[in-house]
């Protein structure tokens, strides 16, 4: 069946609501890139639904002119799972933050990912609770001084990508709010993935935690601090001067491409490895010891929860025929009273 879809533009995805994030919040850029990506997917506007939890990022659905549900703290993955199970014709996006996904909603994140429900989960990581005005979050670094940790946070932070790789996520990616081209690419790739696509976006909260990701955004230092992953290519950064190789202890190390070490000696990225160890190794490369990888860490295929649920229904209908209510009511031992 071919239907001519109307050509959509970012404007078609702009809702009638005033955007109310703080001026210069990183969320604006993410919203803009999302509205760029959506019209390119060949999906009618009414077939998108955005589901969010609670937090600054979770206001996102109000600003996109599709179906949208601003729900309760941490529960968006559960709500989105049901929507996708019931309506496989919809493309479902979950918008969440570091507190929403990893603290109050940690349990739901774990399960949506292990089930591989066909959803896109976009985690805006700003390492702070913004909406409640500046408490430390599960991704805040140890020692972080905030309103609730005047002497410094005593929590070891969670690494979002390690968490989701531990749940065998089938698509894992990272980008940065202001890295417009890269972010667009990552969102596109997530949109096309079948299964749970998890994207962490480093997002600047310029009011309560500004500069948290400066190492990855400052033009002067960025090339030394960030490494762009490309499938099938060696890991090179610092304008081609440095690379990553796996040393004799099976750990990654930064090497200078000074002639003695060649590209072939470097670690080559393979996003399609069934075994998630490489992706896990990459996820654990943190600044300042390493440049932090950006891009697609892992993109593998696995059956999705919603499709197998559907298959079971089809199999049950094939085996038993479509449900017959009268037969169901009359099932088992019955007797007549006259």
């Amino acid at each position: 069946m071919s239907t001519d879809l109307p050509v959509l533009t970012p404007k078609d995805f702009t809702s009638d609501q005033d955007v109310r994030w703080c001026p210069r919040c990183g969320d604006y850029s993410i919203l803009a890139q999302m509205k760029k990506v959506l019209p390119t997917l060949g999906i009618p506007r009414e077939k998108f639904v955005f589901v969010s939890g609670i937090g600054c990022s979770s206001r996102f659905p109000y600003y996109v002119n599709t179906y949208g549900f601003h729900s309760i703290h941490g529960r968006a993955p559960a709500i989105a799972t049901a929507i996708k199970m019931a309506r496989r014709d919809m493309q479902v996006w979950v918008i969440t933050g570091d507190g929403d996904a990893l603290s109050i909603g940690g349990n739901h994140l774990l399960h949506v990912i292990r089930r591989n429900v066909d959803l896109k989960v976009i985690l805006f990581n700003n390492q702070i609770y913004g909406l409640t005005k500046g408490q430390y979050s599960p991704t805040s670094p140890l020692g972080k001084k905030t309103k609730s940790t005047p002497m410094g946070s005593v929590d070891h932070p969670a690494n979002p990508l390690s968490v989701v790789l531990g749940c065998e996520a089938t698509f894992v990616a990272r980008s940065v709010d202001v890295d417009i081209k890269h972010l667009t690419y990552v969102l596109e790739r997530a949109a096309h993935h079948k299964g749970t696509a998890f994207v962490e976006i480093y997002q600047d909260c310029n009011v309560f935690n500004t500069g948290a990701f400066e190492f990855a955004t400052d033009k002067a230092t960025k090339s030394n601090n960030v490494i762009y992953l490309e499938h099938g290519k060696p890991l090179i950064f610092a304008d081609g001067k440095k690379g990553i190789r796996i040393n004799e202890a099976s750990r990654p190390e930064v090497v200078n491409l000074d002639g003695t070490i060649k590209e072939d000696d470097l670690l080559f990225h393979d996003e399609k490895l069934t075994e998630p160890s490489l992706a896990f190794t990459l996820a654990r490369m943190r600044h300042p010891e390493f440049p932090e990888p950006m891009g697609i860490f892992r993109a593998v295929e696995k059956t999705t929860y919603d499709e197998v649920c559907d298959d079971q229904i089809k199999a049950a209908v094939a085996a038993k025929g479509p449900g017959d209510l009268n037969e169901l009511l009359n099932r088992g031992d019955t007797w007549m009273v006259s």
Partner: protein, 646 residues
């Protein structure tokens, strides 16, 4: 009442009786629930009215032979309509000393006691905290006692089949069942068919159980110990085709029916919890009806998923028991705020906290009414009996869809696990729920998700995916009509009152309250939920004794039927029996300023008819000024405050 009607072969006397109560009890691994269910099925299929009370411990396998591990199954069968599983037991089958100890107090004086004497060794006796073998003491002196070496006889019966001793001993429950089948002239065919189906692939186990069953039957027939057996004629129930139904089954099948008749698909999300899990189990076997079941990661996710499914346009349901309902509270509030239709089922059990997971209670009524943050009104309805769950869960769905609201449907452990004969309705008797999803915008300004129906005050239910109706909803306060976020003070008050009025207005769309008995008089007994049977029996007896007593049983708890307040004032006194500290009583007193009194039992067990009857006598004979607000049932006969009570 019994009468000698003839002399059966082997010189056995046969008596005809109207109503019989049998209880099987033993270790939780002894298969007592299974044989109880079998006897229920056989009696129902024979045409008796039946009512059951399975009573099992929270521990799956408590240490063998201890009081903590005692599991019991009581059934009452009769030649007329009955409403409860009976107060006193006529025949008690006790497989070990612990089972005897936990249950003998409920056996009628002169009743029949059948024990497996092979399990009354020194250690068995000690495990039940008896200092002496009870079979040699006064414990059993008031009864007709049959000490049957069931273990040995079962082993003998299955000898030669190559079974291990353990496998052979596992058949002794069917020996006990065979014996009771003889005692009450039950046809064994239903059970034989069950075994043939169950063990089709294990011929030696099938043969062993059949042999054990027949050995038990023959033991009754041929031994001199049993000199009399009994006959209970079929009951005269309303004409029709019947099957046995438990409350959880009825709830599940009612949901299937609601969806099928509405031509919609059903989405059920749950998390395993006693005593609600059977609803999830049952629904997951009906995938060919297009039903999607989701075993969520927790109770919160289950309710959140139901909210999501409702947004997606499904008939959405979640079920749990008290502890799970607490966890669902926030997501229910989201359902209230976003005005989405879903049904939340609470199969109540004893609380607080983990409480009594396998025992019944009615103590979640106020939780259902008020257990969410903010002004968060929700319709609450409750089923009266196992079979009633079939109809009331459909009614819950009807209200949810018609008024765009979450609805709480209350049952309890007693009716969820209890069984009764259920007249199978013709499909034409069932009401079809009309589901309407708009396909076009509803105003000049486009689609307004909160533009209300002027009469029912329900908002439209646009299915996601519908072109042109894209809209956003959420948990923040909003403007009526547009649904846009709006925190203004007058708007919040307006919206709170709008949501409350919508729910209150449902009173115009539910049946008025009826009474059984006089329209006015000395006493109205007002009950709700699973206590229907005991209250109905007690009030009927009182009416037959010429007392001025009426009975009203509430199925609609929020809103109340609109004639209720006026009805309450037509009686001198009002008694509200409940398995809690007086929760409906609280609502009735505050809402109608009626000096109603409560009869309250909090033992994890249903009311006995005699307990309600005693309270009726008390309130009828004494002036209100001399009565407390809450009457109690006192200590039961077989109950003590023992630490290891079954």
């Amino acid at each position: 009442m019994s009468a000698v009607i003839d002399n059966a072969p082997a010189g056995k006397r046969r008596e005809s009786v109207e109503t019989v109560v049998v209880r099987f009890c033993g270790d939780s691994g002894d298969g007592m629930q299974l044989v109880g269910t079998q006897m229920t099925n056989s009696s129902a299929a024979f045409g008796n009215d039946v009512c059951t009370f399975p009573d099992f411990p929270a521990e799956i396998r408590a240490p063998v032979g201890t009081l903590a591990g005692v599991s019991g199954f009581q059934l009452c069968f009769s030649n007329h309509d009955i409403f409860t599983p009976g107060d006193e037991v006529d025949t008690l089958v006790a497989m070990n000393p612990a089972a005897l100890r936990a249950n003998v107090g409920d056996l009628k004086r002169g009743g029949t006691l059948i024990v497996n004497e092979d399990n009354f060794g020194k250690q068995d006796v000690a495990k039940a905290n008896y200092t002496q073998n009870p079979l040699e003491t006064d414990v059993i002196s008031a009864f007709r006692v049959h000490k049957v070496p069931m273990t040995r006889l079962t082993r003998d019966a299955v000898a030669g089949l190559g079974l291990s001793t353990k496998e052979a001993d596992r058949c002794k429950n069917f020996f006990s069942l065979g014996l009771v089948y003889w005692l009450y002239e039950r046809d064994m065919k239903v059970t034989e068919d069950y075994l043939k189906h169950q063990f089709a692939k294990k011929p030696e186990i099938l043969e062993a159980n059949l042999r054990a069953l027949r050995a038990g039957y023959n033991y009754g027939f041929s031994t001199e110990s049993f000199t009399v057996h009994y006959q209970v004629d079929p009951a005269k129930l309303p004409a029709g085709k019947y099957r046995k139904m438990t409350g959880n089954e009825a709830t599940a099948i009612g949901l299937v029916a609601a969806a099928k008749l509405a031509g919609r698909s059903l989405y059920f999300a749950g998390y395993p919890i006693t005593p609600a899990s059977d609803i999830l189990h049952e629904l997951s076997t009906h995938k060919n009806f297009g039903i999607r079941t989701f075993q969520a990661e927790d109770e919160i996710a289950a309710c959140a998923a139901a909210v999501g499914a409702a947004y997606a346009g499904e008939l959405a349901v979640t079920a749990s028991s008290g502890p799970g309902i607490c966890l669902k509270g926030e997501a229910m509030g989201l359902g209230v705020m976003t005005e989405l239709p879903l049904v939340i089922i609470d199969v109540q059990r004893g609380g607080p906290s983990t409480g009594l997971p396998t025992k019944t209670e009615q103590a979640d009524l106020l939780l259902a009414m008020f257990g969410r943050n903010g002004e968060s009104p929700m319709p609450v309805i409750a089923a009266a009996s196992p079979g009633d769950c079939f109809y009331m869960v459909q009614e819950a769905m009807r209200i949810a869809v018609e008024f765009m609201t979450p609805v709480l449907f209350l049952t309890d452990g007693y009716i969820a696990n209890g069984a009764e004969p259920w007249r199978i309705p013709d499909l034409s008797e069932l009401h079809k729920i009309e589901v309407k999803h708009p396909t076009a915008v509803n105003s000049e300004k486009g689609y307004l998700p909160y533009l209300r129906d002027p009469e029912k005050r329900a908002r439209p239910w646009a299915r996601i995916g519908t072109p042109g109706l894209e809209h956003r909803i959420g948990g923040l306060e909003k403007s009526d009509g547009t649904g846009h976020i709006n925190y203004s003070p007058p708007n919040h008050e307006h919206m709170v009152r709008t949501r409350a009025k919508k729910v209150a207005n449902i009173a115009n769309y539910i049946p008025e309250q009826t009474v059984i008995g006089p329209d006015s008089g000395d006493l109205l007994v007002l009950s709700w939920g699973g206590t229907y049977g005991a209250v109905r029996s007690a009030t009927r007896d009182a009416q037959e004794a010429g007392k001025s007593v009426a009975h009203a049983h509430l199925r609609y708890l929020n809103p109340f039927p609109k004639n209720l307040g006026e009805m309450l004032k037509r009686y001198e006194k009002v008694l509200i029996p409940e398995l809690n500290m007086g929760q409906l009583l609280t609502l009735i007193r505050y809402k109608f300023l009626v000096d109603a009194r409560g009869l309250n039992k909090i033992k994890g067990k249903p009311f006995l008819v005699s307990e309600v009857a005693a309270a009726l006598d008390t309130i009828l004979t004494q002036p209100l000024s001399e009565l407390p607000t809450h009457l109690s049932t006192g200590a039961g006969r077989s109950e003590d405050l023992g630490e290891a009570g079954g």
